[in-house]
């Protein structure tokens, strides 16, 4: 035994000291590195296109539209890392916001209407989660179904007209500032920190990565896979209703087509942040950076008078560039 002890020591020392990968290489293969580089490039280009860009306040003000989607994208990041997807959040935003509007119109006070919206968000998330975790259906199919269903329900509930005339204290969350920072941005930053910590240093965050890397291995390791996934779908519903309320406040009214098409923006943000669409890799930091990348490009192009359809093209190209770059770097690191 003593001989073997000794040998272990030698082996251990020999191997541990054999320099692992250099630090810069590890940094380079981190999923959000490409996003970070793109963000810097975009900032440089945009500030050349327009002097407005020197003004941080301007960028922050114009970010509030994207921020609502970005807040949901934070939770979506967790869902995707866990190997699932949720395409229904934009529809959940609309439905829960319409529920808010309807309850308010029926004469209830704002806090009650907000509570109704949040509870219904949880219920919609639970509905998704039920199909995925209990009936074990693929989440992409389930949430494409509920994306249509929820949007339809919103239309049934609210009709084609918008519901408005909210109390004035509720309206205009995007104009409330702390210093030069609009309240939605503050919410986004706080949510990013909270979820980043949740994913990075709690055991649940760890298990989310494990589930997304190999669900089979996670099940065998005794990780409560279904419970965690259910939790993620609940969180997705809840955050969608919060984002829906923020949109309602910003617009001052709600209609069934609120946030329409938003699911693509959310998925775009998550993927642009380097999160691997099939699960197991990704980060909140990436999603955070990708949000600002999107904001800067969108506002940059608007300021430079580039048409909306051209903007979409640029976003699409950007996504492809970032995916190709991430994969290339990753593959290079493997050989």
């Amino acid at each position: 035994m003593s001989a073997s002890e000794q040998r272990q020591g030698v082996n251990q020392a020999g191997r541990e000291s054999a320099a692992a990968k250099p630090r810069w290489k590890i940094l380079l293969v981190r999923p959000e590195s490409v996003t970070f580089v793109l963000l810097i490039l975009a900032t440089i280009v945009a500030s050349h296109l327009s002097p407005f860009f020197a003004d941080l306040g301007f960028i922050l003000e114009s970010s509030t539209y994207y921020i609502e989607f970005a807040i949901v994208a934070l939770v979506l990041t967790l869902v995707i890392i866990a190997g699932e997807i949720d395409l229904s959040p934009a529809a959940m935003m609309a439905l829960t916001a319409c529920i808010f509007g309807t309850v308010l119109k029926a004469g209830a006070p704002v806090p009650l209407a907000m509570a109704a919206s949040l509870v219904s968000g949880l219920a919609l998330g639970a509905f998704n989660g039920f199909f995925v975790t209990v009936l074990r259906l693929p989440s992409i199919i389930v949430t494409i179904g509920t994306l249509i269903l929820y949007r339809g329900l919103a239309q049934v509930l609210a009709g084609d007209k918008s519901i408005g005339s909210f109390p004035s204290w509720f309206v205009g969350i995007d104009y409330r500032m702390v210093g030069i920072v609009p309240v939605p941005v503050i919410i986004f930053v706080l949510a990013s920190i909270a979820l980043g910590l949740f994913l990075g240093i709690t055991i649940y965050g760890r298990q989310i990565y494990q589930i997304g890397t190999s669900e089979m291995a996670a099940i065998h390791a005794g990780i409560r896979v279904r419970r965690i996934k259910m939790g993620l779908f609940l969180a997705s519903g809840l955050v969608s209703s919060i984002a829906g309320l923020m949109t309602a406040s910003r617009l001052g009214s709600v209609r069934y087509d609120l946030a329409s098409g938003g699911e693509l923006t959310m998925v775009l943000i998550v993927m642009l942040g380097g999160t691997y669409i099939f699960g197991g890799r990704g980060s909140i930091l990436g999603t955070f950076l990708a949000t600002w990348l999107l904001v800067i490009i969108a506002t940059g192009m608007t300021v430079a008078n580039i048409a909306i359809n051209a903007q979409l093209t640029v976003m699409g190209l950007l996504l492809i560039v970032s995916i190709v770059a991430t994969n290339w770097i990753y593959a290079r690191s493997q050989r």
Binding site: A3, N11, A20, I203, S214, A217, I219, H220, R335
Partner: protein, 511 residues
């Protein structure tokens, strides 16, 4: 097909390979002769698979040259290797789980235009022929998903046979096979050798190497130590060259005190898999479960652990009936399970070694939900030392470890969880001789500490050395219970082989 002259088929010179600055092969020279079976031996992480993968075009050497039949070649990809007539049977069977066995058999074969129709019936016919050649009863139309490790291994072997290669590299093909399948494989290997093909055979079982290999090459720490005719080296010589020290013999001390029944299953049935399985495992007892590949041993273990619960029958833990619908139920009852299929059910390939090791003990690394990095690192280091896991860093993705070292990490995961009842399914698959002895020691200690252990193993010496009692399964039924005193390899095989095949032990090969 045959090579002119008498030169070696493969001449590798000065092969070195580094991964991210860590050199795992250093200046290896190796000749492989035409028509020989050549063993590669070495501890876990010595570089055997890496060398095999270089020959097969999976990795490119950092330095060195390879010539094939006298002319230098560049093996840039597995497709190149295929074209040159080199086939690798991977240590971890790589397959397309959703395709059928027959389709998997022809994957990677060159030829045919992309638009040519696939003749499905021909494909299935061919598949069937290959499988019967190997004497295994696998329906070639079923998908790969759900095949046992041994069956996947047999499909890999069949695929290599179908490819008509002049160099076939088998990376631990026998690790999950029982003596019967191994014998069939050897019959085929000898025939291939007679046809003038060259076979590289990697295994941790010396008796297998003795049985078929003409020459052996021993690796240690990425260096080639020696190439010699098998007969010229004794086992002790080989082991000394492999691990640089003599090996302590494992002696079962049999000191553990056998207590009350910890795990009791009765009438467990899953139609098509196993039927009416009843047995007890007592505290402090190691119960072996033997049988041929496909006898249903893994299915029983998976049922007890709740991965694929039985349709009927009951399970009791410490005398109390329990309902186990999924693994978390089993774990809540103090049951742990080391699955045979580490690539799919064991490792988190892209995650760090430490998070793999601690995956089953969240409470120990995160007492209040927050991960304590220091605690995690300490636990990881302790296990790395205990099981001699060879790695560059604890933060390294586990997929970068050698097969045997991955297996050690998974074992460490479950040893850490200190289960009351431990089910081990081929726990030493791919583990080298040196560590095996220590692992046996640990299992013995666990039993001595009053844990109940159910050990599934295809390695008869392992079953015999460790078990207090050996159960044998055959075609989904328990056919024997052999007490330690009466247990012999013959007795186990007698009960393991189906009645119809009892008379000729080479029935499989002849079929």
């Amino acid at each position: 097909m045959s090579t002119p002259g008498t030169g070696p088929l493969v001449a590798a010179r000065g092969i070195s390979k580094s991964f991210g600055g860590v050199e795992v092969l250093r200046n290896v020279d190796l000749d492989l002769a035409v028509g020989e079976i050549h063993a590669l031996l070495g501890e876990n992480g010595a570089g055997k698979s890496t060398f095999a993968k270089i020959l097969a075009g999976v990795h490119r050497p950092t330095q060195g040259t390879i010539s094939l039949a006298g002319s230098p070649v560049e093996i840039g990809s597995p497709i190149d290797a295929q074209r040159l007539g080199i086939t690798l049977i991977h240590q971890e069977p790589l397959s397309f789980p959703d395709l059928s066995v027959a389709e998997n058999l022809v994957i990677g074969q060159a030829g045919g235009s992309p638009l040519k129709r696939v003749r499905w019936s021909e494909l299935a016919e061919n598949g069937k022929r290959l499988m019967s050649l190997l004497g295994v009863a696998i329906d070639v139309r079923q998908p790969m998903r759900g095949l046992s490790i041994a069956d996947q291994q047999m499909v890999e072997i069949a695929r290599a046979l179908a490819s008509d290669s002049r160099l076939i590299i088998m990376d631990e093909p026998t690790a999950a096979l029982t003596p019967k399948e191994v014998e069939t494989l050897f019959v085929i290997a000898r025939r291939l050798r007679a046809e003038g093909r060259t076979i590289v055979f990697i295994s941790h079982r010396l008796e297998e190497v003795r049985a078929i290999c003409d020459r052996v090459t021993i690796f240690r720490d990425g260096e080639k130590i020696e190439t010699a005719p098998t007969a010229s080296l004794s086992d002790a010589d080989i082991i000394r060259r492999m691990i640089g020290r003599p090996l302590g013999e494992f002696i079962h001390r049999g000191t553990s005190h056998v207590g009350a029944v910890a795990l009791s299953v009765s009438g467990l049935t899953l139609p098509g898999r196993f039927e009416n399985i009843s047995f007890d495992v007592r505290k402090g007892e190691i119960v072996g479960l033997g049988g041929l590949v496909g006898a249903g041993r893994t299915d029983v273990a998976r049922a007890i652990f709740g991965v694929a619960p039985a349709a009927s029958g009951s399970i009791a833990v410490n005398g109390k009936p329990v309902a186990i619908r999924e693994p978390t139920d089993a774990i809540a009852n103090g049951i742990a399970f080391v699955p045979e299929d580490r690539a799919i059910a064991g490792i988190f390939r892209t995650l760090s070694v430490e998070s793999n090791i601690t995956a089953a003990v969240p409470d120990r690394i995160a007492p209040h939900g927050l991960i304590r990095r220091a605690a995690e690192k300490a636990i990881g280091l302790e296990q790395v030392r205990k099981l001699r896991i060879r790695l560059a860093s604890l933060r390294q993705p586990i997929g970068e470890l050698s097969g045997g070292n991955q297996q050690k990490a998974i074992l460490a995961r479950w040893l850490l969880s200190e289960p009351e009842i431990l089910i081990l399914d081929e726990p030493t698959r791919g583990i080298d001789i040196g560590v095996k002895a220590e692992f046996y020691e640990m299992i013995g200690d666990l039993a001595a500490a009053g844990r109940a252990i159910l050990l599934i193993s295809s390695e008869l010496p392992e079953l015999l050395a460790l078990s207090n009692r050996i159960l044998v399964m055959c075609e989904g039924r328990l056919t024997a219970e052999i007490p330690r005193a009466e247990a012999t390899q013959e007795a186990i095989m007698q009960a393991a082989v189906p009645r119809s095949g009892v008379h000729s032990h080479s029935a499989g090969a002849a079929a």
